[in-house]
Amino acid sequence: MISAVSFIKVFIGSFFIQSSWSFEKMQGLGFASAISPALDEIYGGDEAQKKGAYKRHLAFYNAHPYMASPVLGVAINMEEKARRGECAKEAPARFKSLVMGPYGAIGDAFFWGAARPLASIAGVLATVFWSMWGPLVFLVVYNLFHLLMRWYGLKKGIELGDGVVAFIKSLDLPMLGVRLKYLSAALLGVLCAASAVSLLPPSRGGAMTTALAIAASVTAALLSGYAFKKGLTIQALASIVLAPLILYGIIF
């Protein structure tokens, strides 16, 4: 096992895995840079072996940036085994190329597709009720998922080796993602109602007017959501809806 100092260095390095992101090699240089403190410790003064390890990891790599942590952990575990002659030197590269596609897809769907929308909606809702606490709520909700994966992904990868695949599977991120989306939908409903009530309070137009405003806002949100699903871009929507409204506001 690598020392705590090397672990922390790799953990910090994982936050820079996309620093040199390029279309050709994507996170290749970032991955090699992040794992290098562990390789320095594993191979110590054996310069030839160490350089060979650097070269093995300086190759095309692309997955979701947070899901790189368990892969980094497994690569470190396998490099230690390769050093002891317990597995082939090519094993870490083989493992990387096997899992980067699926882990990219799982990470994109879970973190970008479910955790971030949940954090965003929770943050905006918190902004409506508690003003400046909104951004903090967003950061706490999102980074709860993010930092847990970075830390435990790396730790479990080093401990379990390729057994980390079973560990990630046991988290059932796709199902958790679906549950988070339902939670987001519920929060979005509250947000729509709260926005309608604050823009058109019952004290101004009566309860029925407010209820109609809520119903109208939910319908409009669902309709524009459907339009986005059908390929409408934000730019097009802005031109179609905002421009005439602003023009109307300026003229009249």
């Binding site: 390029s22 279309f23 840079s33 004290s203």
Partner: protein
């Protein structure tokens, strides 16, 4: 130097630094509009105006995901620019600070979004240029790998520096003319309060958010939750 020019430089530098979080470093999401806009607002002296802009933009840009080789809308630069234009315009109009100025912000914000959205292409282009330039860093690291791990760390971090420079320059090129222009226009022509465009922007944001979380029966959950929350909030407000 005018206040708008000072503000534009501040927006560009702060936006460039916050943009690092988007791809190059950390990714703790301080680059999202809901964080970037209030930070920019705070730097320009109006955090609440920044917060409102950030909340709306956060919803609007929720579904644009960086999957594979696709480079999404640059939400950090866009929110920095929208916040900058909004604040300069509101100051120009002489809007009251804080909550008292929110109605004026609802009038100006949609216009700032409408102006900034097409400019967003500049940031996307800058992002693509940086990613192309980064390919050279990989080649350089591969050539001098015999020098040890320091080369890997150095060349990797150079990528982050490149992102910082291109994002800051792209913001400078756009923020300076747009913010000084907004100052010039809004000190001469004040807009009448008009909140319909803001409501439309908010609804479009809710629609973008609804679309990004569509799964199974989520639309029913959304509708039911709005009905229950609406009834509760109306009862509380009466």
């Amino acid at each position: 130097m005018s206040a708008a020019l000072n503000g534009a430089i501040l927006v560009s530098v702060a936006g460039g630094v916050l943009s690092l979080d988007r791809t190059a470093a950390f990714q703790v999401m301080v680059s999202r509009p809901i964080v970037t806009a209030p930070v920019i607002g705070y730097l320009l002296g109006h955090p609440l105006w920044g917060l409102v802009a950030g909340a709306v933009l956060e919803l609007l840009l929720i579904g644009d995901l960086p999957v594979g080789r696709y480079v999404p809308v640059h939400e950090t630069a866009l929110s920095a620019l929208v916040t900058g234009i909004t604040i300069v315009a509101l100051e120009g109009m002489g809007a009251a600070d804080g909550y008292a100025g929110l109605k004026s912000e609802m009038t100006v914000l949609p216009l700032a979004v409408l102006i900034a959205l097409p400019v967003g292409k500049v940031f996307q282009k800058a992002d693509i240029i940086t990613r192309k330039m980064n390919a050279r860093l990989f080649e350089r690291a591969a050539l001098s790998i015999d020098a040890g791990s320091a080369v890997l760390l150095r060349e990797n971090l150079k990528g982050a520096v490149l992102f910082l420079i291109t994002n800051t320059v792209a913001l400078l090129v756009t923020a300076v003319p747009l913010m000084t222009g907004a100052e010039y226009v809004f000190t001469r022509f004040a807009l009448k309060p008009f909140t319909a465009a803001f409501a439309a922007l908010l609804l479009a944001g809710a629609g973008a958010a609804a679309w990004s979380i569509t799964t199974g029966r989520s639309a029913y959950v959304f509708g039911a939750s709005a009905a229950v929350a609406g009834a509760l909030l109306t009862w509380l407000a009466l």
